[in-house]
C-alpha cells in the first residue's frame, strides 16, 4: 500500500490515492489512484459497473469512501470534518439528467447559488448569468423555464449554472448519455471550449471520439481498479486486451 503521493502540490487539483468503496458486499472501488493537474482534462472510461461514476461522485463527496484518501483543491474530502460547502464551491458538477430546477427560470437557476452562497448582489449575479449563458450559446434563453428547452439546451444551461459558481474543477457525469447525437454534439462543443479555456475537468463519458480529442489523460476502469491509464493515444493503441476490447479496436 503506497502512502499518499503529494496530492497537495501546487498544480494538483484532484488526487485520489488507494480509494476503496463498497456498497454492501459489492466492492465498487478497489484501490483507485489518479491525479488531475490544473488545466488538465481527465476522462474516465469503462464498462457500466466498473466504478467510474462512483469514483467521480466521491470527488464531490456524493459518496463517502471506506479507505484511502481524496484531496480536492486542498480539501481533504475523506476527512469526516470536511467543510462540505467549501468543497462544493470549488467543484462544479454536471449530471446526466441535467437537474435544472423546474420551478425557476434559466436566469434564476443560474443566479440562485451565487446569490445565496457567495452573497453577491442580484444585479451582479444577473450580469454573470448573461455572461455564462453566452459562453454556452444560450443568451436568448434567460427568461425561459427548463421545460421550454431541448435536452441539449438544458444540459448547456446546467453547465452554465455550474460555471457561475466559478469552480476550480468541473465534474461531468455522463452528461450526454440522455441526448441524441445531434444534441450531444452541441454539448460536447461547449465542453471543448471550456477545455480550451484551461478549465480543469474530470469526466465520465462513453463518447470515445470525443474522449480522444479532448483528454490529456485517460483512465480506463475495470472491476473497480485503474486498469490502464495514459494519454489519449491509449484509446487508439491500447496496451491491455480489456481496453482493446472496450474500445473495439480488436477489429
Amino acid at each position: 500500500m503506497h502512502k499518499i503521493t503529494r496530492t497537495d502540490t501546487a498544480s494538483s487539483v484532484v488526487g485520489l490515492s488507494n480509494v476503496h468503496k463498497s456498497f454492501g458486499a459489492l466492492k465498487v472501488l478497489n484501490g483507485v489512484s489518479f491525479e488531475v493537474n490544473r488545466g488538465e482534462v481527465l476522462v474516465l472510461i469503462g464498462r457500466s459497473g466498473s466504478g467510474k461514476s462512483t469514483a467521480l461522485r466521491c470527488i464531490d463527496r456524493f459518496e463517502t469512501i471506506d479507505s484511502g484518501e481524496i484531496v480536492v483543491c486542498g480539501h481533504r474530502v475523506s476527512d469526516p470534518k470536511l467543510n462540505l460547502r467549501a468543497l462544493r464551491q470549488d467543484v462544479g458538477i454536471v449530471f446526466q439528467s441535467y437537474n435544472l430546477f423546474p420551478h425557476l427560470t434559466i436566469e434564476e437557476n443560474i443566479t440562485l447559488a451565487p446569490c445565496s452562497v457567495k452573497g453577491i448582489s442580484k444585479a451582479q449575479a444577473k450580469e454573470q448569468a448573461r455572461r455564462v449563458l453566452a459562453q454556452v450559446g444560450l443568451e436568448d434563453k434567460l427568461h425561459q423555464y427548463p421545460e421550454q428547452l431541448s435536452g441539449g439546451q438544458q444540459q448547456r444551461a446546467a453547465i452554465a449554472r455550474s460555471l457561475a459558481m466559478q469552480p476550480k474543477v468541473m465534474l461531468f457525469d455522463e452528461v450526454t448519455s440522455a441526448l441524441d447525437p445531434e444534441l450531444t454534439g452541441e454539448v460536447l462543443k461547449v465542453i471543448e471550449a471550456l477545455a480550451a479555456d484551461g478549465m480543469t475537468m474530470v469526466m465520465v463519458t462513453h463518447e470515445m471520439g470525443f474522449a480522444r480529442g479532448i483528454a490529456n489523460r485517460v483512465v480506463f476502469m475495470h472491476h473497480g481498479k485503474v486498469h490502464e491509464t495514459g494519454p489519449a493515444a491509449i484509446l487508439t493503441s491500447p496496451a491491455t486486451p480489456e481496453l482493446a476490447q472496450f474500445v473495439g479496436t480488436g477489429l
Binding site: D60, F62, L84, R85, A86, R88, Q89, V91, G92, I93, F95, Q96, S97, N99, L100, F101, P102, H103, L112, A113, S116, V117, Y145, P146, E147, A158, R161, S162, M165, S177, A178
Partner: protein, 222 residues
C-alpha cells in the same frame, strides 16, 4: 315540544355551519403549522428526531380523533387544566391534522426527485437554502391536490367535536332534533350542508390533480 322547522331553526343551523367552518380553519391552520414541522422532522438528518416524529405520527394515527377529544376535554381537567369546548376541539383537531398532513407532506418532500436535492447540494447551498429555494417550491405543487383533498376529511371530522359539547353543525342539528323530533328531515339538511361544504373542495382537488399539479416536475431520465 314539537312545532315545525322555521327560520329560527335554519338560522341556528347556519350558525352551527359557521362554527364547523371556523373549527375546520383552526384545524387546518394549527395542524398545517404543526404538520409542516412534523414533515421536516420526519426527513431530518438526525436519527433521533426522525424516530421521535415517527413515533408521534404513529401514535396519533393509531388513536381515534374521538378519543383525543375525550382526552383533552375530560382528561386534562382531571389533571387540573380546564379547557373550553372550543379549545379542546381546536387542540384535538390540530394534533390529529398535524399527524396526517405531516405524513402527506413528508411524502411530497420525498417525491421531489433525488437528483434535485443532489443538484442543490452540488451548488453548495446550505440545507435550509436547499429546502426553502429548491425542494419546498416543488413540493408545494405536488402537495396541493392531496392537501385540498384532506381538507374534506377535516371538515367531516369536526362533527366529532359535538361530543365535547361544541355546537357546530352536527351538534346544532342534534339540538334542533331534540325539540322537533324530525330526525330524517333534520339530518338530511345537515348532510346536504356538509356535502355543500365538502363537494367543491373534492372537485377542486380532482381538478388540480388532473391538471397535473406539479406541472413543471419533469420525469427523470434514467
Amino acid at each position: 315540544m314539537g312545532g315545525s322547522l322555521n327560520a329560527n331553526h335554519l338560522m341556528f343551523l347556519g350558525y352551527g355551519a359557521l362554527w364547523t367552518i371556523g373549527l375546520s380553519l383552526i384545524g387546518l391552520l394549527g395542524g398545517g403549522i404543526a404538520g409542516f414541522i412534523v414533515a421536516l422532522c420526519r426527513i431530518s438528518p438526525s436519527r433521533i428526531v426522525r424516530l421521535i416524529s415517527t413515533g408521534y405520527v404513529q401514535l396519533i394515527q393509531g388513536t381515534p380523533l374521538l378519543v383525543i377529544m375525550f382526552l383533552t376535554y375530560f382528561g386534562l381537567p382531571a389533571l387540573g387544566v380546564t379547557v373550553s369546548p372550543l379549545m379542546a376541539a381546536g387542540a384535538s383537531l390540530t394534533i390529529f391534522v398535524s399527524a396526517y398532513l405531516g405524513e402527506i407532506w413528508r411524502g411530497c418532500f420525498e417525491s421531489v426527485p433525488k437528483p434535485q436535492w443532489e443538484a442543490a447540494e452540488g451548488l453548495a447551498l446550505s440545507r435550509s437554502q436547499r429546502m426553502m429555494k429548491v425542494i419546498l417550491p416543488q413540493a408545494v405543487r405536488i402537495a396541493t391536490p392531496p392537501t385540498v383533498g384532506f381538507m374534506v376529511q377535516i371538515i367531516k371530522n369536526t362533527s366529532l367535536a359535538s361530543v365535547v359539547g361544541f355546537v357546530e353543525l352536527a351538534r346544532s342539528g342534534q339540538i334542533i332534533n331534540n325539540s322537533l323530533f324530525e330526525p330524517f328531515l333534520i339530518y338530511t339538511i345537515i348532510a346536504v350542508i356538509y356535502f355543500a361544504l365538502c363537494y367543491p373542495l373534492s372537485l377542486f382537488s380532482h381538478r388540480l390533480e388532473k391538471r397535473g399539479g406539479p406541472a413543471r416536475i419533469e420525469l427523470e431520465a434514467a
